[in-house]
């Protein structure tokens, strides 16, 4: 993990060194021309398409609207989102709590290290068959798979964040006789904050992967189920529509997450902005 932290530090400096930006309108034009051209090209190129595999974009969008803005919303989208959110929150909470415990106890860290290293190296989707055997098919299984498969980045990053506490801060907190609770609340957790969030972002990405995959193999509703079902029944526009929807959801989830991160870690982004002159 060490290189990442160094890389992050370097990035901070790069970001602040970033030279003067062009005019906002020019920037907007620069940033939007390519996506616009691509979408227009897709629209025109596929407009009269007879190909089974590449239906017209208009058909895909109609399918998207028909399948996902109507009854599909409650039948498939909301259950997926609910399961995803539950799984992600459980993974996040467990990762942070156990990460704090392991990070603060060297004995515990040494004891669990081999098992943790093995479990986090496991490609999470291979847990699916076990999940099906233990939980059967349905929401509990989907949630359990996310919680167990996505917890590791947060856990490891929290451990590393706790460990990264400066020795002088540790001395300071002891010499001012802060209680254990105060140390955890005011020092250990905020200090690990940036790394916890970096871990949470990966946990988020894995959670999305896992909700999709677990619904593909062990669910009777949800986006993953819909997507695989449409592929297997050769419902091509539906497959395209589902893929687009998932892409959009991934994008929005990431955006929301970044919003929350910058809100919670206000001090950190402020410091990074200021580090140009005082690092």
């Amino acid at each position: 993990m060490t290189t990442t932290r160094a890389a992050a530090r370097a990035v901070t400096q790069t970001a602040t060194r970033a030279t003067t930006r062009p005019h906002p309108l020019r920037l907007l034009a620069l940033r939007t021309w390519l996506p616009v051209v691509l979408i227009v090209w897709w629209w025109l190129a596929s407009a009269g398409s007879r190909s089974l595999y590449f239906p017209p974009l208009s058909t895909i969008l109609e399918t998207l609207q028909h399948d996902w803005l109507g009854p599909g919303l409650t039948a498939n989208l909301l259950p997926s989102l609910g399961k995803f959110l539950a799984g992600f929150l459980i993974a996040a909470a467990c990762g942070i709590v156990f990460g704090l415990l392991i990070g603060m106890s060297r004995t515990l860290a040494a004891a669990v290290e081999p098992i943790v290293q093995f479990l986090r190296s496991l490609p999470p989707p291979v847990l699916l068959p076990i999940g099906i055997l233990v939980f059967g098919i349905g929401a509990p299984m989907n949630i359990a798979i996310i919680a167990f498969g996505a917890v590791w980045p947060t856990l490891l990053n929290t451990i590393d964040g706790v460990r990264s506490l400066d020795s002088q801060v540790r001395d300071m907190s002891r010499s001012y006789r802060l209680t254990l609770g105060q140390r955890v609340r005011y020092i250990v957790v905020p200090n690990a904050g940036p790394q916890i969030f970096a871990g949470l972002r990966t946990t988020l990405q894995i959670s999305i992967i896992l909700i999709v995959v677990s619904e593909m193999v062990a669910s009777v509703n949800g986006i993953g189920y819909y997507l695989l079902n449409s592929q297997q029944t050769f419902a091509v526009p539906q497959t395209w529509a589902g893929t687009l929807l998932l892409g959009a959801l991934g994008y929005v989830a990431n955006l929301l997450f970044l919003r929350i991160e910058s809100r919670v870690l206000r001090w950190h982004s402020g410091m990074r902005a200021a580090s140009g002159k005082d690092a």
């Binding site: 993990m1 060490t2 290189t3 990442t4 932290r5 160094a6 890389a7 992050a8 370097a10 990035v11 400096q13 062009p22 390519l34 996506p35 060297r106 004995t107 040494a110 004891a111 669990v112 290290e113 081999p114 098992i115 093995f118 190296s121 496991l122 490609p123 989707p125 291979v126 847990l127 699916l128 068959p129 076990i130 055997l133 233990v134 980045p153 490891l156 990053n157 451990i159 460990r163 020795s167 970096a198 871990g199 990966t202 992967i209 593909m216 193999v217 997507l227 449409s230 592929q231 050769f234 091509v236 497959t239 893929t243 998932l246 892409g247 994008y251 989830a253 990431n254 970044l258 910058s262």
Partner: protein, 286 residues
């Protein structure tokens, strides 16, 4: 874009904390002590699993005893089919990584150095990056069927972004300060590239590559599980549907060991390549 400290790659995260004002002799203070603790927990966990499974506390039709799984794993090691499926997964993931390097390097140079290019592709990259790679699997299956080519395509598309992002950071970093030094000492193109640019980008490249590798394995396994392309993932699903539970668990164990092995390989590569990097000295300096 905030710093991308993402981390499927926390390689050294469990490294022991620096020896700090310790009061008593600590069981985790020596490497031997840590080994005993770690090995002890593994043995204990396996024994616990064994007992729970034998006594029926765990459903035996879902979780067979540890000893049976370990025995099956050992037996698998002698089966050519096992190595074939392991290789099918690993080779396509490695091939994907090579392709990713080939694609990401020029892209990163362009994005890092050519401002209009960076701005023009910004939205596209930011949109494609968070898309879950598995979302494309059904589409890939639909278009190309369960072929190695499809697997490769999905791996490249899903695992390209971490390396690309890190490389762009690296390129921008070099472009900032160190090149002034190179110019003022008139180092020339070759010396600048080999002694300055490459070593500065290397830490970023390795970080990105490690995350990309983890995602590549995930995508490969999922494609095999869902699409039925040959490999470990397919083996796991086949074993499950055939009710060969011990074999299924043995293959899952193999998948975990494969991930562990990849991580260890990256860590082993980092040590000689990045010996000068502050991260490698952290323990000594604290």
């Amino acid at each position: 874009m905030t710093t991308n400290t993402t981390v499927l790659d926390s390689g050294a995260a469990l490294r022991p904390s620096p020896p700090q004002a310790r009061r008593r002799r600590h069981p985790a203070a020596t490497s031997a002590g840590r080994f005993v603790l770690g090995a002890g927990t593994v043995v204990l966990a396996l024994a616990f699993w064994e007992v729970l499974s034998r006594t029926g506390a765990l459903p035996p039709d879902a979780i067979p005893p540890a000893s049976a799984v370990l025995a099956e794993f050992a037996a698998q090691l002698f089966l050519p089919a096992f190595w074939a499926s392991l290789w099918a997964t690993l080779s396509v993931a490695l091939l994907g990584l090579v392709l990713i390097i080939v694609i990401a390097t020029p892209l990163a140079l362009l994005i890092g150095l050519v401002k209009p290019f960076a701005e023009s592709t910004w939205f596209l990259v930011e949109f494609l990056k968070p898309i879950p790679p598995v979302a494309l699997i059904p589409l890939g299956l639909l278009l190309w069927g369960p072929s190695p080519g499809m697997k490769l395509f999905l791996i490249v598309l899903g695992a390209l972004w971490p390396l690309l992002t890190q490389l762009v950071y690296g390129v921008k970093e070099v472009n900032g300060v160190a090149t002034d030094m190179a110019r003022s000492y008139r180092l020339g193109w070759w010396l600048t590239t080999s002694r300055l640019v490459a070593p500065s980008i290397l830490p970023f490249a390795l970080t990105g590559l490690r995350i990309s590798a983890a995602i590549a394995i995930i995508v490969a396994v999922v494609t095999e599980m869902i699409g039925g392309a040959t490999g470990l993932g397919q083996g796991i699903v086949v074993a499950q549907s055939a009710g060969a539970l011990t074999q299924m668990y043995a293959l899952i164990l193999a998948a975990g060991l494969l991930g562990l092995g990849l991580n260890a390989a990256f860590r082993a590569a980092e040590k000689p390549l990045l010996f000068w990097h502050p991260s490698m000295r952290e323990e000594a300096s604290r």
